[in-house]
């Protein structure tokens, strides 16, 4: 297990090894088969919306291994973002448990950091201060904080923007700040909620490469929510396909395409096509339901 948390070595050679990283660890991603990092047991969530009750998530069972990159796809409104909020501990399920390393979670914790779709960067802080924020909340001393922030800013290639204000950055750069801010707390699990949905295609491709690289460097477990099937096939070790209302897991697909991958790879496209056929069914269902509501 611990092996997966110190694989900075190869990046460290380039960036200068930070003091807290053991440089002896081999630069390889270790997927620990024995223990599931994240385990969702019978997660059910009901909403009450003006009188009627909505079943948003219906008995979700899902296991994510340490160091795994899991993508969740589904039509919009299927509750996939909500599931991330549940794992992050920002919301409580109606029934069922979220286990991290076998321990149930009830509150937010820095062992699992969520990158919101809207990012939620703090405009009153500089880029570096944003990256430092989670580290500061952990009560880590100033000197070490600066060191960590500097390291992760280099990792996302934003060192020269450390003192910039958030509003001065482009969309892709903000995305990277959010990634660095999440990584700086050194969470075991990174939860990403459609992080690249609002970006142009070139920037997104670039960030895909970067995310894949950083994931391999840091060995984090990533749960990545998207509505873009090709993005899921490009990034994920495994893809979980959600049904439309109530959200259930319809199918799990192993993506056995060797890395590094490209969005245009034939294998990626083919894998995406298979998932897309299933997803279409769900999208049609969601559309049907939407039209049924309108007389």
């Amino acid at each position: 297990m611990t092996a997966s948390f110190r694989p900075f070595a190869s990046m460290s050679d380039v960036l200068g090894a930070p003091a807290w990283v053991s440089a002896a660890a081999p630069a390889q991603r270790v997927v620990d088969e024995a223990i599931s990092k994240v385990c969702l047991q019978d997660i059910t969530l009901r909403y009450k919306t003006n009188g009627s009750e909505l079943l948003a998530l219906d008995r979700i069972n899902l296991q994510v291994k340490a160091g795994e990159f899991l993508c969740i796809v589904g039509p919009s409104g299927c509750g996939k973002s909500t599931l991330l909020h549940l794992i992050a501990g920002l919301q409580q399920p109606t029934s069922g448990t979220v286990l991290i390393d076998g321990q149930p979670v009830h509150a937010p914790g820095t062992d699992r950091i969520l990158i919101f779709q809207e990012l939620g960067l703090f405009p009153w802080l500089t880029v570096a201060q944003n990256v430092e924020f989670g580290v500061k909340m952990k009560g880590i001393p100033r000197a070490e904080r600066k060191l960590k922030a500097g390291y992760y800013l280099r990792l996302v290639q934003l060192s020269q923007f450390a003192e910039s204000c958030i509003h001065q950055l482009s969309g892709g750069m903000r995305q990277r700040v959010a990634l660095a801010r999440a990584l700086a707390t050194e969470p075991d699990v990174l939860l990403m909620d459609e992080p690249f949905a609002a970006l142009d295609a070139q920037t997104r491709d670039l960030l895909h490469d970067e995310l894949e690289r950083i994931w391999e460097e840091t060995g984090r477990t990533i749960i990545f929510v998207t509505h873009n099937v090709r993005e899921a096939a490009r990034l994920g070790d495994r893809v979980a396909l959600f049904t439309f209302r109530p959200g259930r897991i319809k199918r799990e697909i192993l993506v056995e395409v060797p890395r590094p991958r490209q969005m245009e790879d034939v294998n990626v496209t083919q894998c995406a096509k298979g998932i897309l056929d299933d997803l279409r069914e769900e999208i049609n269902k969601s559309l049907e339901q939407e039209y049924k509501l309108r007389p």
Partner: protein, 253 residues
């Protein structure tokens, strides 16, 4: 450059007209003094330290009173933003109390606290706490929910969440209230000092009346305006500018 020239010309014109009217001697000089008499009064006031003392006393009062109302206002505003009960009870009361001129609290203050510093502080706090409270409430309510969520997600909770996330996130909204609260506090203080309290700028103003000394009255009025203007320009405007630059509310220059 053009606007500076315009402003200079405008004030020069006022001074000139004032000088001429005083020169005509329609009214006796103790009722309508010429500008140079006011200047003399200003000089004399600073020379015999009476203005310095008055400024120091008034500034100390406003510092304590304003600090109190900022703390109370932030706590009340946060309470009203988080509790439906407080919002519906205290919120309505706050809005209705806003229509009460702050000097109306003075009789109550005198009865409760006597002719003391406490009474004047009470008036200052009552005059400014409402603006701070209401702006803190709107700030907390209108700030995007994502900030609080992101803060909690990154491990901030309780006091840390307030200090490092909720407070800075609501600052753009809160600043309006802080500014307005300052203006109200300043006015309440002067009004209160005029009526009863020893020392302070308000009392100096009334002393000018008692002595039939219009030069001193105008000199003290100028002082009151200048101090209010300086605090607004030096403190609040610079905070505002820094905030706007950082948040990108106006193009950074």
């Amino acid at each position: 450059m053009k606007s500076v020239a315009r402003q200079t010309a405008f004030y020069a014109l006022i001074l000139g007209v004032w000088f001429l009217i005083a020169r005509l001697r329609i009214w006796p000089p103790y009722l309508f003094p010429p500008p140079q008499a006011v200047l003399q009064a200003l000089w004399a006031g600073f020379a015999d330290h009476s203005f310095w003392i008055a400024i120091a006393v008034s500034m100390k009062r406003i510092a304590i009173g304003y600090a109190l109302s900022v703390v109370i206002g932030i706590v009340l505003g946060l309470g009203m933003a988080t509790s439906k009960f407080l919002e519906q009870t205290l919120g309505g009361l706050m809005v209705s109390l806003q229509s009460l001129p702050s000097i109306c609290w003075l009789p109550m203050a005198v009865l409760w606290f006597g002719l003391s510093e406490k009474a004047i502080l009470f008036v200052v706090v009552m005059g400014s706490v409402l603006s701070v409270t209401i702006s803190m409430e709107t700030g907390r309510k209108q700030m995007p929910k994502i900030y609080a969520m992101a803060g909690r997600n990154l491990g901030a909770h309780g006091l840390k969440l307030f200090l490092f996330v909720l407070f800075p996130a609501s600052l753009p909204y809160l600043l309006t209230g802080l500014k307005q609260g300052w203006a109200f506090a300043w006015r309440s203080l002067i009004a209160g000092e005029m009526i009863f309290v020893s020392l302070g700028l308000g009392q100096l103003l009334m002393m000018g009346r008692d002595l039939n000394d219009m030069s001193q009255v105008i000199a003290v009025m100028i002082l009151i305006i200048a101090i209010g203007f300086l605090i607004d320009g030096l403190v609040f405007s610079s905070i505002e500018r820094r905030l706007q630059c950082k948040w990108g509310l106006t193009p950074a220059t």
